[in-house]
Amino acid sequence: MSLLEDLSKDRRVVLYAVVLALAIILIGTLGLKFGLDLQGGSYLQLQLEGAVAQVDVTPEKILEVQFNASSVQKLGNAYVVMVPGKVKATLPDDLGYSGSKMVEQNNITKITITAIDTDIITNYLKKSMDADVKIVGVAPVQYEIRTNVTRESLNAILAPVGGKVSTGENAFVEGLTVETVDETKKVLDSKLNRLGMQDIRVRVVDNKYILIDLAGMDVATAQDVVGKPGKFEIRIQADNNQTIHVLYGDAVASVDIPQGDRSGGWGVPFTLSEEGAAVFQKASIDAGAVKNPDAHPISMYLDKDEVFSAPLAAELAGSLSKVPVRTLEARVGSGDAGSTKAKELYIHLREGALPVNVAIVGSGQVSAALGKQFKIQMVIAGLIALLAVAAMVFYRYRERRIVLPMVATSFSEVVMMLGIWSLGGIWFGWQLDLASLAGIIMVIGTGVDQLVIITDELIRGGEAVPAASDRSIKERAAEAAEKSGVGKAVAASSKVYLGRLSRAFTIIIGAAATTAVAMLPLLYMGFGALTGFALIIIVGVILGTAIARPAYGRIIGHILAGN
């Protein structure tokens, strides 16, 4: 009775009881999520390719080479390119300079391109690498190139236009910006969600790798699903209250990264193929959208879901009545909402294609039946571990009063870990996989280590007598106490007791800290395969050191001193 009363006043014991109860409630209500290797399914590991670079190159030289020009002049916000002879009418558009004007006079073609220097460099990089390029830094200007590129290959691309990668280590950094990686993850998320897939998990590791878990799917299907684009369609409102088909995604030649204009409006520029532009013009005229745009909005669909709908802009309707227009922009609104919408539409227009080039690093599948079996095997291993540890503890102390609290503490640490895990499952998508189950078993093994340290410090505090297992604990404890001058078994609140406990904890905290820091690298290693293992050990060590072991110290102290 007095034991319980005493303990209920100790805040460490109270904290322990509360956390343990919370953990049980959490596991009961939230449940535990199992990893792919325990429930079956397939996984893909993708590497995002790209680099951020600074380049030394002049826009004039680029234009000169691209157009085979005799001279290039910068005039305010525009470049005037003079080309000897005739130039194909679509050349500026083909090269990505939309909205440029072309005049031919005396066998010399004068092309006026409205663009600033960085636009031209971006454009050149894009065209020569067939990949997206985005400006990610100002002063110095940095270009994010979203494909596999090295300093050497970039230099080779810039050499024909007299440019090179700027000197210095920082001028070429492999990897993408966090925003781009995040965007790629979103594309995958939205794509897999759209396909109505349950239980998918997309994670980013090291800002470089994307890991996709697809529960209950075989790996051949998974590769198809992730690699296959969605079905994009443009439709137009006809007179009879119905929409009619205009184009499919194959008519969209390219999509640009969303841009905000000066008034804060956002839009996604995209370019149609030549044939696509002709079809688009004809459909607009036939449907009457050119004459009355507001009654005949253009809508876009991805996998049958409407993703955009708006009438033709007045000036576009005007142009379309005369010529096909290849370069269009889908305006979505202004402000933050517009920016978000533009980014979404950008994803959709690209038919769910990823914004960066990816390489498949690894993939595979796990059998559901095998996963179930592994789960059973691990539970067996856990029980054997607990029993083996209990047997060892009993062999050493020959005292039920020590064995039971020790094993119970160890088991309660497991419960607490699982409690945190079920919470982490909701917040961060933590899952119990084979590796984290192994981690739990390791925590059982080392957690008991530390309980042994506490117990031994308390029993044989001040002196160093070799373990004499034929003597009972009480005898040894009493002897120890006598030597250290207390004269009787250590009272649970005495100074000697507290001193020993604190000494035990110096050892424990040192040992726990080394275990935790040694595990840190594993959080990032191996493409996340061992994250669960490292994380559960770190969580277990922290929980054990901060909550369970202090409480055990108190409880065992009371048990040894009392009765």
Partner: protein
């Protein structure tokens, strides 16, 4: 007890020869493997790239080999109720065919793990980067705990000896370096110092002769390593041998590799804590000097 006698009777410098010899032997083993293969331990499929497929054992091993003969087949093994088929590196399209063929025959009952060249290269780079980092972090914590150069150094050296011995034991037992074994080596970095910290704390903080304190700490230390070994042992049994008794169970490779390395590391830890570290402490504490025994922080 013999170990207790050794610990306290013979002069430290003589006993220290044993760990030195063991470390040298471990280094030779790692060095020879390095000269032969280009890495100090044998690299597993995760580090060389390749594909592992395990399928239910419904037909003979030969039939399975024949089925996959157009791919770079390396090995077919029975792992209890299932076959593990290992392939060398192959092209993406070959792998894609392999995956389709396996899925169409075995459905989701097949287990497939494909590790492309980027994966294995990156993994190698990670090990080279993170293993030393982990060790340095551990050493930093040890220095913070003791704030005394020699004592900390002894702990770190013992841990290093553990890792080297465990790595060399991989070469002896034929365990290859896999993600699991790297995890085991990292874990050893963390665990091996537990007992060293206990020992050094007891020797520094308690009253009595160094020898008495070492022998006293030994009881606790053996128990600590014992419980860890008990946990590791249960994993070894379940991952390695259970399938031999209960036919529906399967060998769990990653756990089996991990625990093999751990058990060697823990065995090395017993030796290095109670011989290497303990003798080092004996020599350090009993050396002729001006300051009194029972150092304060």
């Amino acid at each position: 007890m013999e170990l207790e006698d050794i610990v306290s009777k013979y002069p430290p410098k003589q006993i220290m020869l044993i760990p030195v010899v063991i470390i040298v032997l471990a280094l030779i083993s790692l060095g020879v493997t390095y000269l032969n293969t280009g890495s100090p331990v044998k690299l597993g499929v995760e580090f060389t790239g390749g594909t592992l497929v395990t399928v239910p054992a419904t037909e003979s091993e030969d039939a399975v080999s024949a089925e996959y003969d157009k791919y770079p087949l390396v090995d077919v093994r029975n792992i209890g109720n299932r076959y593990m088929v290992q392939f060398g590196p192959m092209s993406d399209s070959e792998y894609s065919d392999l995956a389709k063929q396996t899925v169409s025959k075995y459905g989701t009952n097949a287990e497939i793990r494909h590790m492309g060249p980027i994966y294995s290269k990156e993994l190698q780079a990670q090990v080279v980067r993170y293993l030393p980092l982990s060790f340095l972090l551990m050493a930093a914590v040890v220095f913070v705990v003791f704030r005394e150069l020699m004592v900390s150094l002894l702990v770190v050296i013992s841990a290093l000896a553990d890792i080297l011995t465990a790595a060399a034991s991989m070469n002896v037992t034929g365990v290859q370096l896999s993600l699991g074994t790297v995890a085991a080596l990292l874990m050893l970095i963390g665990y091996s110092v537990d007992t060293d910290i206990l020992l050094s704390m007891r020797v520094l903080k308690r009253k009595g002769t160094t020898e008495e304190k070492i022998v006293g700490a030994m009881g606790t230390g053996f128990m600590m390593t014992g419980t860890t070994i008990a946990a590791v042992f249960s994993l070894i049994i379940v991952s390695n041998f259970l399938y031999l008794i209960i036919p529906s169970f399967t060998r769990m490779d990653i756990i089996a590799d991990m625990t093999t390395v751990l058990i060697f590391g823990l065995a090395a830890d017993i030796f290095n804590t109670w011989v290497t570290n303990a003798q080092g402490l004996r020599w350090y504490m009993n050396r002729p000097r001006k300051s009194a025994r029972g150092l304060k922080r």
